[in-house]
Symmetry: none
Subunit: 140 residues, 4 copies
């Protein structure tokens, strides 16, 4: 088997994820940085909401990258490993909560990373993004 | 005088700029990377359209940064200076066409950078972004 | 709403902050690195006093960036999060004491970061900077 | 001979250089980024004037570093060498005009780098900085 079928998130889909996440962030009153990457970790869509922390531009991206790479939500890594792996990955892998893979029909088509609130708020907003396109954060 | 009044582009405004640029890119049939930064160069909004070149993620950002910093469209720099200043700025300053400052009420509130087409196509799409919020690419 | 009104710290204001911080550093006999950034984290003014540690050039900048981004004094972050967020932000976010946001009329116009003394000395000198322009370290 | 006497620029001296450069920039109506480094290239003092280009924060620093390292004004390098040396130095060496070494009693005590105007304007403002402490841009 030389090739296998895949599924790609479109920019239309990525912008819907942003919209769903923005709506949830506004609902809970926490401005956020929201990053959507594709399955290869390349940036697809981003927004920094009014009042969100500008250093969390980068943390939201690290969370999205980590969730896309590992295909699981960030935050579940063994704490004794998280710092050494973060450094070994050039600072791109993070275990901070707020990154979710985006699964559609059991394909991981990318990930969302949210940063500027507490870990729980970031996760809630990320889930708002997934809900907007009926995606899941686990393969099945 | 310790402070002076200014104007900030909202995320709502930045997303309208993205929409206007996407519409123009679809009209001319050229998928693009579109970056919107604020007046200090921090990322506000981004989208990579289906089929756009992924290395142009970075060039669209450099164009936006350059237009925000210099408050003029990219492309007008003295050719004999452009490489040395690009290097001296850590690779962030570019003279490639496709970056436009965003002026509203004579305030530079940020910039748009577009990359993946020809220079002329990138400029056309950037102008589509500005038109969506009735912004100008010059102060007056 | 495409834009919203804001306030910018002038270079005259930033230099007054430096002067106030230098005066306090001399009063307590601790030479310091003092960084002032604007609300987007771009450098506005800096001085390294005679005898200050040169590696603290960078730490004073990280402190200023962190206080400007989060709009709270550095040092209050959850200790269990500080290292992972420092790495995820590309090393720019720090929880070391000595960074204070600069609030004027409830606008965060930037931040000061001080480094080369103890945490308490750094905070004291940073407060000397804010006092020079009648600024506050909290929004209200 | 194990040691030799040296001369260090104080922070008081560096701030006078900033003041002299600011005064000249205001006289010619061109807001500037002004960097002063010591003889080892470490940052001593900096100011970004209202309206100066933020990407020139970095170019003003590259100019100051280059002038401190080579102990001659920037701009005189063989054009056929300037790009390859800029790259080989990690982007820190620049031949763009606006960097001047600071000589006092034939000691190079540091350098000033100015960026945001034309090359000629940058040099004029840098000279305003040197004049404020009766320094020279050549050893004798």
């Amino acid at each position: 088997m030389t090739t296998k079928p895949a599924l790609k998130l479109t920019h239309e889909g990525a912008l819907k994820v942003l919209s769903g996440a923005i709506a949830k962030a506004q609902e809970i009153g926490v401005p956020q940085n929201i990053t959507v990457v594709d399955d290869g970790g390349n940036l697809l869509a981003f927004v920094r909401m009014d009042g969100a922390k500008f250093l969390s531009i980068e943390t939201s991206k690290s969370k999205a990258l980590s969730a896309a790479s590992h295909r699981v939500p960030t935050g579940g890594m063994n704490p004794s490993m998280e710092i050494k792996l973060a450094i070994a990955s050039g600072g791109r892998l993070t275990n901070a909560e707020g990154g979710l893979p985006i699964f559609i029909d059991s394909h991981c088509v990318g990930a969302i990373g949210v940063g500027s609130g507490t870990g729980a708020q970031d996760v809630e907003v990320a889930r708002g993004g997934l809900a907007a396109i009926d995606a899941r954060e686990t393969a099945s």
